[in-house]
Amino acid sequence: MDRREQDILDWVRQETEEIDVPKKLEPENIRRMLEEKEVRERPGKKRRMYRFGFAAAACIAAAGLAVWQMPRAGYDETGSSPGGTAGAERGTEVEISGSKTIARADSYEQVYGYLEEYQKQLEEEEKRMMAEGGTASDLARGKEESVAIAEDSDMDTGMNGGASPYQKTETLAAGGAESASADYSETNVRQEGVDEGDIVKTDGRYLYVLEDNGREIAIVDTLDQGMKKAASVDAGSNNSIHEFYVVPGMKKLVVVGYQSGELLGKEMAGDSAYSNPHLSSTVAVTYDISDPLKPVEEGRVSQSGSYSSSRMVDGYLYMFSEFYVWNGNISPHEPRSYVPAVNGELIKESNIYLPPVSQANMYEIITAVDLKEPGKTKDSKAIFSKGGQVYVSGQNIYFYETEWQNSFFGSSTGCVTTIRKVSYKDGELEAKAQGKFDGYLNDSFSIDEYEGNLRVVTTDGDTNSVYVLDKELDIIGSIEDLAKDERVYSARFMGDVGYFVTFRETDPLFSVDLSDPKKPKIIGELKIPGFSEYLHFYGEDQLLGIGMNVDEETMITDGVKLTMFDISDKTDVKEADTYILENVYSTEVGYDYKAALVDPGRNIIGFAGYTEGGQNYYLFAYDKKDGFVCNMEEHINGNAMRSTRGVYIEDVIYVVQGNIIEAYSLEDYKKVDDLIL
């Protein structure tokens, strides 16, 4: 969490500190009320209603404890008595299908069944939670424990092809290090060749900047190193832009965001997306920018839900949105109340991908748009789910979600990640396979596709694991029980080798040899203080880590830390140099990789850091002889909601924060110009 987020939480805390708690809720009155209850309650009589507040008692009867008294079939059958005396492990909480095929829905009624099941599960959990008190690990489950283990027997199926060419060394590009130096920078992306939207982009001459109002994109001409706002694209007052793309080859600007109708006004009055699921939608609007001074709208598409992410590959936009079904409002006879729509039309049953468990409450909607026909959606699918994350490789979309095995705070007994793979090509989406593995993923850098296989590094309870899955998503190789009592902070894969950082006191950087996908093995481990939150390959045999330094005595983070790892010998990774920015207490790079400007070709490392005096922008260079050199440390004058971006065009870097753009020369690092939008 960054400083600004912490500030808002602190603000809420401060603003609510003075709130008086009603007299009835004071401990003394609670005690009295409970004692009175005891007097009235006779042994053998389980429960009575007490007037307390005024609506409270009635509510208990209606929903809370009434459920308790009427154990349902399926709960009692399991033999797990509400008393929860059995301390034994009971396996996973929800049954996860062992099928390798993604199921499609036959009918909307079938879809509705999952929603009902989800609701039922919620109620049962509430009941069990109360039943089983402090033993979080017992919160559960009702399903036989063999579930997770049972299908392991077929894990080796489907593994034949694709075993040979693993020795092929991939270029640095695969790991995200663009060694070719363009004369302008591009958005730092997860997967080379798969573009991602952002809030600042450039085509080499114009800067495109999302303004602070979230509605307008300013087009700024940077000719002759000066800056001039030349034009703008206005999404209109009912829209809010999340990010956008500039595709110089096709002369297109693609804006993605959300369209809210009259939502804002209603939201303030207490209505919100959940009382009318189709009130707001995610939209993509394509503009022709043959003349950047006169953008012309060419078409728009929409889909239900709120924007979650998008990608751009080969002239196709792939857009993801999350559509949550609010149980309070649904009716089995009205599919519109629980089925998402694309351009106003409900998604067909057969395009809804059912989850590997029996419940769901949301959809991740994926659509594809051909930029040559930007008014049409070429393909659309809805992944029915309880909420997950997306990783997009060069060929496939992986949707992964975590099934927790208990619902208590701070007492995890482990979890399983389920994963569904949908291929994409030229705007066509196709279900490929599904699978699962133990543990959860730190972020999308912990999952990586290479040569058709998928490699993941996971944290499960107090240990970590590496798994390799084949193209059918069967686990073919694994290393378990790594780094006990630590968790993964960052990871990066390149070709046959994976690197990941775990942290408790020191920062072990592990290197994993994945050249035989059936037998991954740890080949190196380096312990240094602090931890890296972001890893980026930096030229040949070098890995850059950006993270925090930690004082080894007090265990307090005391500054942002840059580390260059020498990875020329994978079995003996060394710390080549470190640089600590003291009193810089966080950087956005830790949770937003697009905030990093890393270009080994031009030898530029740029990012913003928070200090007591506000935000600064830093530029570093690195070479083997001198190590890290800090070339620039400049105060950022903008102060907006969104994170800072550094973008360069030729020899000028533009630091963009909100509506303020500050330009510095990359030759002498002096300020060249600034512009307030």
Binding site: P27, G133, S272, S407
Partner: protein
């Protein structure tokens, strides 16, 4: 654990202010918040015998309360759609909003959020839980919690500015 009203009240005393403030931000009216906390207390006390460790009390009752708030909000939404009346007639926010119990800007900031976002922010502030703990409680990936929290706080910042 065995527990009489006095012991229960002692454990409750360590947590009740945070419980009430959390409920207030979720339910947005004094009465609804009070009802939610009362209900959580009743449910917890009924079942205290099954709590094995006093140390787990805070987490336990917070989880109970967040589920109760969630259910109450769902019931309200269901009721609203069933009766098909304007939300403003049913929700507690009459024009003068006499009984909100929350500062205007906090209220506005919370209004911008969806229920799940409210829960995440509320549990962060009043429960003091981190993204992993919240993920476990709400069945979300910690990374999802972080991104949802980040999005929620961005929305709230709109009101702050």
């Amino acid at each position: 654990m065995r527990c009489d009203a006095k012991t229960f009240a002692q454990m409750y005393e360590t947590v009740y202010m945070d419980l009430y403030r959390f409920a207030l931000c979720m339910m947005r009216s004094r009465q609804d918040a009070e009802d939610a906390v009362s209900e959580a207390v009743m449910a917890a006390y009924e079942n205290i015998g099954k709590l094995r460790d006093e140390k787990a009390f805070r987490n336990w009752i917070f989880t109970i309360l967040s589920n109760i708030c969630k259910r109450k909000l769902q019931d309200a939404a269901r009721e609203r759609s069933r009766s098909n009346e304007a939300y403003s007639l049913i929700r507690q926010d009459t024009p003068e909003e006499p009984d909100m119990g929350l500062a205007v800007d906090v209220r506005k900031a919370f209004f911008l959020l969806e229920e799940e976002e409210q829960t995440i922010v509320g549990l962060s502030v009043f429960g003091g839980y981190n993204s992993q703990e919240i993920g476990e409680a709400l069945k979300l990936n910690p990374n999802t919690v972080r991104s949802k929290r980040s999005r929620a706080l961005q929305k709230m910042e709109c009101v702050l500015r």
